[in-house]
Symmetry: C2
């Protein structure tokens, strides 16, 4: 086990009807906010009206910025920074999924920074100040509601880059699983894959003697495998929606990574895809992750055997470990298919034309991943395996 | 799953040599502290000298209060409060295990309270202010290093009572597994039982649809079952010590209780024992918990079957669930014996003389537990089953 520091101070308010606490929670911190959200879905289902009413009851002044898109854009972040400065906003309330929250986090560190906020995403600068961010979660997926990460896409050059810093962990996150009832099946499934990927990125580590976190990861994966098919059959199954939503948050607080070194290669490889083709991050991960597994498993076959046995209940085969590994990967792919996800680039209408460009861009700051360090060639091969 | 709120803001600094950060961490918060600890063990192994040196390097003024005993006493808390007031102390640094930390927490809420600090423990008052508490952990057991709880014993009448409040969660906790190398086997085992009991108190709930937290609890229990025997054979096995220490903390942050209602009956029943007989809390729990299980399992046999199958790998017996339940309890008792713990009151030289008195005192504020509500008679019967 590696030495580590861990602190996740986000206040979680979880359960039925909990959005009703939003006015009080914001009111404890400020009376002037930026209300940040995506498209019209929060208006369609009445969430917007409810939140506005609750904020007004606490006499909170609201500046609005709508229109955040999946794979949130740097240009939108710029608009948000400007609005916050002009209106002396003191808190950003993100109502949405990972894209909205990531955009809010980027705005929060840009407001009091004199340079270009993209500097944080290229690694040029670390944030010294951040406005507090509050969250009302609508999509369980990215885990951004209590994570220290934000991923932003710069349109010019199609760069998608992460910034990770405790300073941007939200102050509070309101999680009502009922709000996720209206998510279409495809988006629900993309969220499921994203959550599972967050767990698996941490699971596949070369750090040994990590019993507790291995088992916590397996616990989280098994919970997803059980509950995802349930909500795809019955969209308003509260308990299954609740399991998915809470697992999605727990999966990304870093607790599952304590004492370990996560991989994160598959995420970086996928970021190139969704950065260029604007596909859903979860769908991209469903394609990339199994291919990555096939490519790297020999680095530590025992970990993949453990994955097969403990997560997929595959009987230990004393004669053929490789067979177990492939059976584990096969089950994962079958699960992704079962929930309606693509498992090949072909299904996403992506051909090999830009494999070379993506491999180059993905590795321009050095090799990817930790479980196995991936060069440009490795990344290219993984794209090929994903076809 | 139940609605819940969860926030654990304690900063964890975990790993080899991490006590070297104590001066810097304290220095970020104040320059005047109460250094609170137990007997001579921290002096014997050089930890005391090291900490004093690090604090002095940061020009921190130190008031000392040593002598905290297991089952920490209200009289000691009173002394601490007086010292803090007199010296205008701004932070309490607890160097020790659960007793020292619990004592520090009690002092922290007593300093700015005009009444008797015992009021918090009888439920008469809630704390409005608390001095910050920092921790250097020496004994993995109580989980107090990041928990919202404190248990204090009032000598007069031998009352042992808990106070639970987010306000007393420590600000930071330094966890170096190497420091636990010097713990004698008996104390190590008591800590193991305490940690497992914290998990099991949460595991046995009547709340249904709690997949994630069920599995997180099982993950934590399996980690303990694997690693405890290792450190009892080889006291300086870093990895096994690390697993135990980190599991002990995670077990008591309340994450494992999110969306559930824990039981806590066994803890209350045990508190009467250690309050009167001054036995180690863990040893008392090793005796009480299996007896409690035998007494209550019929309330929800399926949960105990799951415990047998998932935690103890007992094969599912389609014909005889009761047999599986008893096999699970038997394995737990065998495990406790294997690590040198008592599994009967006789082994602790406790006879039935005070069963009646303890049952009465334990239930004087109402029935105990949640999995099954326990009356005075029930508690009496559980003491009898523990003989």
């Amino acid at each position: 086990m590696e030495n580590f520091r861990f602190q996740c101070a986000t206040k979680i308010i979880f359960g039925k009807g909990t959005e009703s606490f939003v006015g009080k929670e914001v009111g404890k911190l400020t009376n002037k906010i930026l209300l940040h959200y995506g498209g019209g879905s929060i208006k369609k289902y009445g969430l917007y009206d409810k939140i506005i009413k609750l904020l007004k009851e606490e006499s909170i002044e609201i500046v609005e910025l709508a229109g955040v898109k999946p794979n949130p854009r740097l240009s939108m972040v710029g608009k948000g920074i400007e609005l916050c400065r002009k209106n002396k906003v003191e808190l950003i309330l993100a109502v949405g999924g990972g894209s909205v929250i990531d955009s809010a986090k980027a705005i929060s560190i840009g407001v009091n920074y004199n340079g270009n906020v993209w500097d944080f995403y290229t690694g040029k600068e670390r944030a010294k100040k951040a406005l507090p961010v509050g969250v009302v979660l609508t999509i369980p997926a990215a885990g951004s509601e209590s994570s220290p990460g934000s991923v932003i896409t710069k349109e010019e050059g199609s760069y998608k880059r992460p910034y990770v810093d405790n300073i941007i962990r939200p102050r509070f996150a309101i999680l009502n699983p009922e709000i996720s009832y209206t998510l279409p099946p495809y988006q629900t499934a993309c969220g499921v894959v994203d959550i599972m990927a967050h767990i698996m990125e941490r699971y596949f580590t070369t750090v040994s003697n990590v019993d507790l976190t291995d088992r916590l990861c397996e616990a989280a994966l098994k919970t997803m495998i059980k509950n995802a098919p349930v909500v795809l059959k019955k969209k308003d199954d509260y308990n299954a929606r609740a399991e998915i939503m809470w697992t999605g948050t727990v999966a990304h607080t870093d607790l599952l990574e304590t004492g370990r070194i996560g991989d994160w290669g598959s995420h970086d490889i996928e970021h190139e895809l969704s950065g260029i083709y604007d596909i859903a991050h979860g769908a991209g991960l469903a394609v990339i992750f199994p291919a990555w597994m096939k490519y790297v498993y020999k680095k530590d076959i025992q970990k993949f055997v453990q994955f097969a046995v403990r997560v997929w209940n595959i009987e230990y085969d004393f004669d053929n470990k490789g067979k177990m590994v492939f059976e584990g990967i096969k089950r994962l792919k079958e699960f992704f298919k079962q929930i309606g996800m693509p498992v090949s680039l072909k299904e996403l209408n992506i051909n090999s034309d830009r494999f070379d460009e993506m491999s180059r861009k993905a590795t321009e700051n050095g090799p990817l991943g930790n479980f196995m360090k991936l060069s440009k060639e490795d990344v290219f091969n993984i794209y090929k395996l994903s076809q």
